[in-house]
């Protein structure tokens, strides 16, 4: 069973945590997420033009690039993480251009070698799957697609076709780190999506607090938290790992116990 399938096959919903590679002490920050209880790690590949991101992750991208982070660095962080944490799934998330710069085959093969389990590419929709999808699937890396409130029933099958690992449901039509959608709308959309797929559905965009994460965990297979963690990396420098561990632990507790409370 793949690391992603194992993570989403646990008795409780999965906490998916995002940070940007090269923003602070990446190894220490990643370890803090694992120690805090994250089930899946998303490692952001910095890009000069993060069009789908709000201010928090935009700033993290710029901090990382200003510090000189390269694609080789990102892959090295991934490979070292894999050596330290053989069982925790690691997903790269980012934009098309840095991924396809040397060709999709090069990227897929380098990511596979680094022990990467999945790739989320924000700006490669199913219509342009040829640009990266076949190369990833051929090397056993899950292309993880996004579905959004604008992905209607007619379009959903196309999004699911060729998706692997899990489906990332973007809860709001908008950018990362802003407002969260009403839980009723999230519940209805996740239920609708789950009728069409056996893939786990993780929900992200705008999830900042343990309370929000817990509420979503009652209706979805996973909860993605990004901007709130990335802000800690930006604000606390060398102290960031401790802060990340603390917030991740609170989020993990809320997510992992959400359904117990529901039953009680």
């Amino acid at each position: 069973m793949s690391r992603l399938a194992t993570a989403f096959g646990k008795a409780h919903p999965a906490l998916v945590c995002f940070i940007t590679a090269g923003d602070g002490d990446t190894a220490a920050n990643l370890d803090a997420l694992v120690e805090g209880g994250a089930d899946v790690i998303e490692l952001g590949m910095p890009f000069t033009d993060p069009m789908a991101d709000g201010p928090a992750i935009q700033s993290a991208n710029l901090r990382s690039l200003s510090a000189g982070t390269t694609t080789a660095d990102v892959l090295r962080y991934a490979a070292e993480f894999r050596a330290r944490h053989p069982h925790v799934p690691l997903v790269l998330m980012g934009y098309a251009n840095p991924m396809v710069r040397r060709g999709p085959e090069w990227f897929a093969s380098a990511a596979a070698q680094a022990g990467v389990d999945g790739v989320i590419c924000v700006d490669i929709p199913p219509e342009e799957d040829d640009a990266l999808g076949p190369a990833l699937r051929a090397r056993g890396i899950a292309p993880i697609r996004l579905a959004t409130p604008t992905t209607d029933a007619a379009r959903l099958p196309q999004v699911l076709e060729g998706s692997q690992g899990f489906l990332y449901y973007v809860s709001v039509a908008g950018i990362t780190g802003k407002q969260q959608a009403a839980i009723e709308s999230i519940a209805a959309n996740v239920a609708r999506i789950k009728q069409s797929t056996s893939l786990p559905v993780a929900v992200g965009f705008g999830v900042r607090t343990p309370e929000q994460a817990g509420a979503i965990a009652r209706v979805a297979d996973g909860v993605v938290v990004g901007s709130a963690l990335v802000e800690l990396c930006g604000a606390h420098g060398a102290e960031a790992p401790a802060r990340l561990r603390e917030l991740t632990a609170a989020l993990a507790h809320a997510v992992h116990t959400a359904r117990q409370e529901q039953l009680a």
Partner: protein, 404 residues
């Protein structure tokens, strides 16, 4: 009209690809909207009423057809081919940008959108968008890099007079590409009621095709005018290229006339040998940005680099995907001229023809200045004078060391 088998005018394909370029590289939130836009655009294309309204506005509001002008003193000075200009700088708002804005706002209204957004660099597209929004009574938000807001204050004031809200963008490096990022972020958050009027023949399909088609009025008029005036087609078309919409507008109707050669002129800034230029085709490489695959200024990791040009309108690190394809197909030749050469050409046209050109077409004029002397006197060059230079006098004065 039958298109020949080897036509250059049949692109893009049904997926919006121009060979390996173009496409729809956008976030999933935008995909349904981009698909709807394509459906609505196809319906509008098939509707004679849409075309009639577009043409009516071009005639009575924009002032089309723009004149085709033979430049006798410039021709004499260069001592070679006859130089003719398509005078799109005489349009309402002073540039070709308005042609496209008229088309897109009519489409926005058909689609029931109630709010317009746009990006702008120098401010010309922002002014054209603010203009059509005032004309049709729709609220308008223009994203503009904070650096450009400072450098282009007259255009910022124009947009405000026209009722637009100008939002200075401080993210990234606060220039045109960052303004485009911010417009995309607005669009993704307001897809239900907002129409994004993109200013050049780039972005996700169908924008490159749609903008090209709206701008093709330039080439259709020029082709008929030239045939009417001289009884023949020009030998060479010349146009400046930033994103590439004025060049495609001129070139596209001529692409299947094999005797007509074409030259696109990029901004070489301080020179193609360094990093201080905006020549995506001649000094860049293929990649994916802002919804399409095209030539980009980028480093080895695919990070986008900043262009430079004296002309803010050419200062963009990408180019429309159809130009990328036309370059690789060999149908159009591309060259680049430096800031200095453009500045010389700017003054040359002022002096010889009594026309103050914008810095963008000054690049085309600089290329004409190089190529005209090498051609026989009975040859005809047609260059697109896509904008007037009023907006640029401050930049030019500064470069010439004149205090205003």
């Amino acid at each position: 009209m039958n298109t020949p088998l080897n036509s250059f005018r049949t692109m893009p394909d049904e997926r919006g690809h121009f060979g390996p370029f173009g496409g729809r590289y956008v976030a999933e939130t935008l995909m349904p909207l981009v698909l709807e836009l394509e459906r609505e655009y196809r319906k509008a294309q098939a509707d004679p009423a849409f075309e009639a309204e577009f043409n009516d506005l071009l005639e009575h509001y924009v002032g089309r057809p723009s004149p085709l002008y033979f430049a006798p003193r410039l021709t004499e000075e260069l001592g070679g081919a006859q130089v003719w200009f398509k005078r799109d700088e005489l349009n309402h708002t002073g540039a070709h940008k308005i042609n496209n804005c008229i088309g897109q706002i009519l489409l926005a209204i058909r689609m029931g959108k109630r709010r317009i957004i746009a990006e702008t660099g120098a401010g010309q597209h922002g002014v054209a968008t603010a203009t059509v929004c005032a004309r049709f009574g729709l609220p308008c938000v223009v994203y503009m890099g904070a650096e450009d807001v400072k450098r282009q204050s007259p255009n910022v004031f124009r947009m405000k007079l026209l009722g637009a809200e100008v939002v200075p963008v401080t993210s990234g490096r606060a220039t045109l590409k960052d303004a485009m990022n911010e417009a995309l972020r607005d669009w993704v958050a307001n897809v239900h009621d907002t129409f994004y009027i993109i200013g050049t023949a780039a972005g996700p399909h169908p924008y490159p095709e749609m903008v090209r088609n709206f701008q093709s009025v330039i080439g259709r008029e020029a082709r008929a005018q030239m045939l009417g005036r001289t009884g023949r087609l020009p030998d060479l078309l010349v146009a400046a290229i930033g994103g590439g919409s004025n060049a495609l507008g001129l070139f596209h109707p001529f692409l299947d006339d094999p005797s007509v050669k074409m030259l696109g002129v990029e901004a070489a800034g301080h020179g193609l040998d360094g990093d201080e230029h905006a020549a995506s085709l001649l000094g860049g490489s293929p990649g994916v940005l802002h919804g399409n695959r095209t030539y980009l200024l980028q480093d080895e990791d695919g990070q986008i680099t900043e262009g430079h040009s004296i002309s803010a309108g050419l200062d963009y690190p990408g180019i429309g995907p159809e130009h990328a394809w036309l370059k690789e197909s060999g149908r159009v030749d591309y060259t680049a001229v430096t800031d200095e050469e453009a500045l010389d050409a700017f003054q040359l046209l002022c002096r010889t023809e009594g026309i103050i050109p914008a810095l963008e077409p000054s690049h085309a004029i600089a290329a004409v200045k190089k190529v005209a002397p090498t051609m026989p006197k009975d040859a005809i060059i047609l260059a697109n004078l896509c904008g007037r230079g009023d907006k640029d006098i401050f930049t030019v004065a500064e470069r010439l060391g004149v205090a205003l």
